[in-house]
Amino acid sequence: MEKEDKVMIGRIAVSFILTVAAAFLPEAWKGEGVSLEYRIFHLLPYLAAYLIVSWDILLKAVKNIRKGQVLDENFLMAVASLGAFGLGIYQNGDYAEAVAVMLFYQVGELFEDYAVGKSRRNISELMDIRPDYANVEQDGKLVQVDPDEVAIGTQIIVQPGEKVPIDGRVVEGRSNLDTAALTGESLPREVGAGDEVISGCINLNGVLTIETTKEFGESTVSKILELVEDASSRKAKSEVFITKFARVYTPAVCSAALALFLLPPLVRLAMGEAPLWHMWLYRSLLFLVVSCPCALVLSIPLSFFAGIGGASRQGILIKGSNYMETLAHTAYVVMDKTGTLTQGVFEVSAVHHNKLEEKKVLEMAALAECASSHPISKSLQRAYGKPIDRNRVTDIQEYGGKGVVAQVDGHTVAAGNAKLMDMLHIPYVNCHMVGTLVHVAIDGAYHGHILIADRIKTHSQEAVQALKANGVKKVIMLTGDEKRTAEAVAKELAIDEVHSELLPQGKVEQVEALIRRKDPKEKVAFVGDGINDAPVLSLADIGIAMGALGSDAAIEAADVVLMDDDPLKISKAIRIARKCVGIVYQNIVFAIGIKGISLVLGALGFINMWFAIFADTGVLILCVLNSMRCLFNKKG
C-alpha cells in the first residue's frame, strides 16, 4: 500500500473515533430540549472530526472554483456536508450525518484508488513479458544491453530462466521455451538450431544463441504490448454513452437539487403555508450526495480494461473495447478452411491398393519426385523420412499438371495424378477417401496410390460445437478447395453451410451477402489465418486472425488476434467478451437504477442521509468489485 493511502486510513480512523465518541458524550449534558448553546458546543468535536477527514477536499473545491471548474465531485461533497452542518446548527444538533458524508466519501475514494492500483498491478503482472535486457557478447564477455539498441543480425545469448528479448533464429543450442505468457499454451515448445523464436517466451533449460531478425520495436513482444496498451483507446459504445451521460448528468442533478431547494418552499409560501426551508434543503443535499457518477465513470473502463487484460492472458488479443462489444454479439461465424479448421499442411495419410510394402511405394514415389519443390512432392519426401540419394534417380521427366516419370534403381517409376495414368495407358483405382491422389506405377504396372490430405485439427470438431453451445446461430465455412473435399470436412465437423471452390473475391462476396441478409444487431465474425484473407478480415464486423504470431500483416488487419492456432479459442474469446459486456451492463443498470430510485425517494423524503451515502459509496464499491471479475477467466 502506498504512503498516501496509509495517511488517509489514519485520517479516516481518527475522524471515525472522534465522531463515535462525540455521539456518546452529550447524553449526560443534554438539558431540557436542545438549546442553542448545546448545539454550538456539540459542534466542536464533530467539526474537528470533519476537518481531519475532509480538509483536502474542501481546499480542492475552493481552488477549483477559483479556476472556474465548479461542478466537480469535490464541490458537490463540500456543499452537501457543509449544508448538513448548517442544518444541524439550525435544527437539532445532529452533526453525525455531515461528518459521515465526507467520511464515507473518503472511504469510497480510498477503495477506488486501491482497486484501480490493484487491477493495474494485476494487469501489468499479466503482461509481464517485456524483456529488460539482452545479453550480447563483447570482447569475450557477456554484457547486458538495452534490447532497443540491438541491431538486426546481432547474436544474443539467452540463458535458462531468461526471456527471449527479440525475435530471431536459433544459431546454436537446444532448449524448451515456455510460451504461456504469449499463447496461453502450457506445453513448452522445443527449439533447436535453425528454428525461429519469438520474443516474450521464457527459456526453460538450455542456453540458446540467437541471431536477431528484427529490431526490438518490431518484435512480437513490443507489438503485443503496444496492442494491449492501445486497446482501451478504441472506446466501446457503452463507454462513450457513459462519458456523455456523466457530462449532462452532474449539471442536471445540481440544477435539480437547486430547484428542489427553492421551488417547493416558494410554492408553499405563495399558497400561504409554512415554507419548511430546512426540510427542502435536506432533501436537496441528499440529491447532491446521491448524484456522484463515479461508480459508472470508473467501473466501465475498468471492466473493459480488465477484460482485455484477462483475455490476453489466454492468448487472445482484443484490439479495443468496441471489438469486445461486437464480439459479444456474434451470431454468425464464418471460417476459412485451410489453416483454420485444418492444419494447412499436406500429409500422406494412407497408401492403398499397393502390392509392395507401403514404405517401398513411398520410397519410389519420393525418389521419382525428388527434383520437384511442389508441396505434394515435399510431403512425399517428408513421409519417406530418409535423406534422398539422388544418384539412384536418373532421367527425370516432369509433365506439368500431371506428374513425373523417372528411372529409379533401374525401374521406370511414374508418379502423378489420373491424367498421367491415362497418358501412359495404365489402369488405376480411384479412392473412396477425400484428398489428393498420387498414383504410382512401376515398370508400367499399377502399384497403388498414395493419399495426401490436409489434416483436420484435433480441436476443430469440439470448437464448432462450443461455438454453437455459446449461442452462435450458424457456422459457415468458406474455401477455395474443391467441393468434395470441402463437403467431407464440413460433414465431419457438423458445419451448417459450406461454400467451396471460391476465389479470394468470392469469399468477400459471400461475407458481403451475409452481412446484407442478417439482422444488423447480429454480428458476423470471420476467422482466418490472416495470410491471404485480409480483405475479408476487415470486411466482417469482427475479423479474427489465428496463429498470427510473427505475422505482422494479420495483426494489422484483424480486430482480434488469437496467438496460437487452436480453433477452440474462438468460442473462448466470445465467452470472455460476453462475460465482460454482461458485467458492464450489470453495472450500468445497477448504478443508474439505485441512483435513480434514491433520487426520487430523496425528493419525496423517504430516505435519509445514510441511505444516500450508500447510494454513492456503496454502489461504487460494488461496481468496482464486479468489474474486477472481468480479469478472471476459467481455464480450458
Binding site: K67, S233, A246
Partner: protein, 72 residues
C-alpha cells in the same frame, strides 16, 4: 510524430478532462490517455517541437487541477 508520456491523475473522469485539454493544445494533432496504464500518447502536428508543445500541455493541464501531472 508520436510520443508517449507517463501521467498522474486520480480518476477516470479527470483523465477524460486531461485528455481533452491536451487535445486542445496547439501543436497537438491527437492525444489518447489510457487511465488504467497512466499513459498519454500524443501525436504531434507536422513540424511541431514536442518539448515546446508538451510545455504548453503541462501548463494547460495544471490549470485544470493541481494534481494533474505529465512527466516529460
Amino acid at each position: 510524430m508520436k510520443k508517449s508520456y507517463k501521467v498522474d491523475v486520480d480518476c477516470a473522469n479527470c483523465a477524460a478532462k486531461m485528455e481533452a485539454a491536451v487535445k486542445a493544445t496547439p501543436g497537438v494533432q491527437d492525444a489518447v490517455l489510457n487511465f488504467m496504464l497512466l499513459k498519454l500518447k500524443v501525436t504531434f502536428e507536422e513540424g511541431a517541437d514536442p518539448q515546446e508543445v508538451m510545455g504548453r500541455c503541462q501548463a494547460a493541464v495544471a490549470k485544470l487541477d493541481d494534481d494533474f501531472k505529465i512527466y516529460c
